[in-house]
Symmetry: D2
Subunit: 332 residues, 4 copies
Amino acid sequence: MQFIGPIKITGPIVNDEIVVPLATLESPLWPSTDRGARVSMQSGGIHAVIVDERMARSVLVEAPDAKTAAQVLTCLSARKHDIERVAQETSRFAKFLDIHFQIVANLLFIRLEMKTGDAAGHNMVTKAADAVLHWILQECPELSYVSVSGNYCSDKKVSAVNGILGRGKNVIAEMTVPGKICRRYLKTTPARIVDLNIKKNLYGSIIAGGLRSANAHFANMLLGFYLATGQDAANIIEGSQGFVTAQVRGQDLYFAVTLPNVIVGTVGAGKGLAFVEENLAKLGCREERQPGENGRRLAVIAAATVLCGELSLLSALTNPGELMRAHERLER
Amino acid sequence: MQFIGPIKITGPIVNDEIVVPLATLESPLWPSTDRGARVSMQSGGIHAVIVDERMARSVLVEAPDAKTAAQVLTCLSARKHDIERVAQETSRFAKFLDIHFQIVANLLFIRLEMKTGDAAGHNMVTKAADAVLHWILQECPELSYVSVSGNYCSDKKVSAVNGILGRGKNVIAEMTVPGKICRRYLKTTPARIVDLNIKKNLYGSIIAGGLRSANAHFANMLLGFYLATGQDAANIIEGSQGFVTAQVRGQDLYFAVTLPNVIVGTVGAGKGLAFVEENLAKLGCREERQPGENGRRLAVIAAATVLCGELSLLSALTNPGELMRAHERLER
Amino acid sequence: MQFIGPIKITGPIVNDEIVVPLATLESPLWPSTDRGARVSMQSGGIHAVIVDERMARSVLVEAPDAKTAAQVLTCLSARKHDIERVAQETSRFAKFLDIHFQIVANLLFIRLEMKTGDAAGHNMVTKAADAVLHWILQECPELSYVSVSGNYCSDKKVSAVNGILGRGKNVIAEMTVPGKICRRYLKTTPARIVDLNIKKNLYGSIIAGGLRSANAHFANMLLGFYLATGQDAANIIEGSQGFVTAQVRGQDLYFAVTLPNVIVGTVGAGKGLAFVEENLAKLGCREERQPGENGRRLAVIAAATVLCGELSLLSALTNPGELMRAHERLER
Amino acid sequence: MQFIGPIKITGPIVNDEIVVPLATLESPLWPSTDRGARVSMQSGGIHAVIVDERMARSVLVEAPDAKTAAQVLTCLSARKHDIERVAQETSRFAKFLDIHFQIVANLLFIRLEMKTGDAAGHNMVTKAADAVLHWILQECPELSYVSVSGNYCSDKKVSAVNGILGRGKNVIAEMTVPGKICRRYLKTTPARIVDLNIKKNLYGSIIAGGLRSANAHFANMLLGFYLATGQDAANIIEGSQGFVTAQVRGQDLYFAVTLPNVIVGTVGAGKGLAFVEENLAKLGCREERQPGENGRRLAVIAAATVLCGELSLLSALTNPGELMRAHERLER
């Protein structure tokens, strides 16, 4: 575990300079992300917002045939309020948001989405899904149970559905870096970063057969941050499916990261551990706040950290040989 | 960290009963994976093979136009032996395997693939790629540097290229579970697991907009195993893109996991740590062996562990309510 | 142009025996699809339902930064009724259904979804989107125009969004084929078709890096049908992203095709042509019906035709050499 | 059918001004593509190259288990020359290029790639695959037949494999458009097209969950061209998976389209028809040339046509309201 920063963060959720713990075995990640943090201090800070938050679980049932599955779909679509009530009764903290359906022949996938306060919410939504599933099987005797999770959730697996329908916190962090700071700290120019982002993160990811992903290494920062704060780090899989935006604006660089699936919590499994509690406290996520606020705070800091690491690596890559030299020096 | 098993493993690489360390915050993962391990002991064991191994890095250069890029492609295709030589000179351990190209207009992505012995090989192949890049820029003055990594590699990011061209060890682990064992230990039947795998792992992943992925939770076991053995755990992203196969064979269940991208090593960053060394020793990966054999051993054990955890979860999901009850009991 | 069938179709939309025109240069397609049609006549027919219908267009605007884009999103989300009104005013036939947003840094994609009666609806929804775009730019002066189509629509392009949020008619066609009919007409057994579907359409598509697609050749039948009925045949691209389900049920075969994106209409561009009018009349799509009913009828017939062609090809593929022989005989 | 152009094309394959037939029901496509053609005449022309050409078919066999499948893979990998010989004996025109394998548990997918002269090559490669399949089943009695096509080919279906391993002709067409021409003919500027391409074709396609695709409407031009020249138009599915590149260069616009999967031929099914022969003759594809040259000529013209239509639509989209007005005017 090492601490990087402070990172300067602004916006409706965090307005602070934050020192961030990163647990990683890839040692060049620390100084690199730290460089991004220093830029944030010199640049007016990273502004971050959350545009959506929800946790999802999809149950899977089957009908004898598509004809029946379609009838059930019509029926359930008309009874969303009942489903909401059943889901809502399972938790004081979770709030029902929405439900989505998919039919494949006689299979019916039902995706339940809830707001889960300060918890990442895997268990809350599974509990609600379990109750909804039970209720549906009672109400629709023509259906049979297949699974409480039908992979349309989709947890810790590559998917498009999580980005399109939402799962976790959808966070955007952005910063404007003066050209001078770009050159002094990042040893590059706005134009070169913009160019690299288009050629590597956009075209490169597309031809690699990527899926809703355009970044260099979001996964590295997310892993280090998730491990340091007691998250279920396997959720870096959907977390890594995010986008970098870089634009030249006058003399400056506009640089943003969009992370539609930041799945973090400040309560729940993994939280009691001493180092986790200490880190959450240092991050200001152990204050008395409205439910959900500490969780959102954590998500925003995660995204800002990702921005720092991504900006620094892209900068390094614009200079031939810099990455290799850093690895050789730091991994000795 | 907890230890599960022993898992019984057979095949050309491992023939042993292995106790496996898993580092995870999701506590139900231990007893669940352990149940799969017990089944392996009762079932003649998990047979595992490796069908490919390589590490890749793609550099990115650009020409003034596609016309020139196409000419350079023709030229470089004819000089594979030179490229091989340049790559080969950077390491005593790495062995050049292949090179692939992609052109997008004036951009040229060059993907270098090497066998990297007992190392996961990120640095080895980056070093070789760096040398090849340098050589290419010298030989083809019409080209310009863009990046030593062009995202066609593709490291820690969702892609199709890693499965199709190969990156990491391509491991398949399989087991035949007698129907009786299925019922006694897994509380289910071969037919129900086969049915669930088709409906959840295949159809469910497909409609979620998955990409080369058909499993329930490979990521969980990989994360726990990678953390316990000093791997770069962000590589669970490509690692999670694998497939489950389940077939009824007479009274028995044939169950297999195919993991095309297991990226592990027994040497390199993260290895000197005390708990890592201890775990690698327990796993039998600190013996004197031919270069590459310890790495392959580790990959095979990873895949067998994934099989245990996947089989156990799928079994639990065939029984309504079982998963929820396990989480509630174990996460208290 | 050739006519195949009649196909026997049942269900809430079509209850009839229908002769279907197919325009194709791949001549083996006719006898093959015709074989499927004969099976439908011997098997109680193909039951078909529509579980959703909508047409979508996404406009693209940009804010100075993500902070502003997020504020606009909040504002627009609260004004869905205004957007509905603006969209609704552009057409007597189209009916506003829903709106979805995606933010990438400062970019805001707004996906408008409407029910478009008997038209495929490209133009209707573009017209509505154009009006909504105009209104949004007036109401939110902080936004700038980028494009009336932002590729999040997504028209005639591979995507996951069309299947998840819906675009076109979501049709499911299913049939139960007695084992005896399977053997007599299709020269195969239920078990062999089920087995082939799993291995080829599910695993094969997954390892090919497919996206929300599990079928052998939906595109062939859709192309022939679209060309024969005056559709914009480039919409076979999303149309081809559908799924085959095959299950052994007792002695019989349950066989279904799920086509989430059948984009067809009985009015609009391409309809006045003589052969088109003749074909639409033969298909019973020139009757006086409630708005939308002729369009739905056409979509159901398309799906039933796809089922016939898919079932027949899969059957042929279960027999080594049959496909090759058919091509050699028929393409002389 | 309508004729657009002439398009000015340069490069190693075509050096000519070509009038191109387009068969489409979407009438605005003609004037729009024609506008692109006029720009080519004013801009020094479209330079086009082919960087790869091959046709693929993957057979599918199965072993009792992965252990055996892996052994067979080793064995077949060592016998590539035998496979080449068997494939080669099936045709005077086709030339064996490469073979690729994928294993999923006990399934073995074998992808055969051949150069097929002037034919698109579906049948040639299927015939060769059929022979190879027969030979493999004889040589490896432990294998069983599953299918002569295993969807790893992949024909007329969305995939990543076709772009990564190649299928059809990989064509790149590029043009530099002077700023003045941009403004006069396209009513826009280089900077606005570059900006739109990034925001719509790159980000928009990525968030739509696209797969190896970044364009506005390649499918439209391909469909019209394929229908006019007797191609199997269902191959627009892989054809549509291509990329647009736009860059500001000084005062000018650099604009390129990369189409990795143009599947066309000048011989084979669909060719004898009168209008097809006439069109092929007009396109200069009925000259006596070396085998393959007429096919390549056709592919290059297809790509140039795609460039014209794509450039023109993107230009129109940069101007609010232009697209809607064009549709309203032209579809009356």
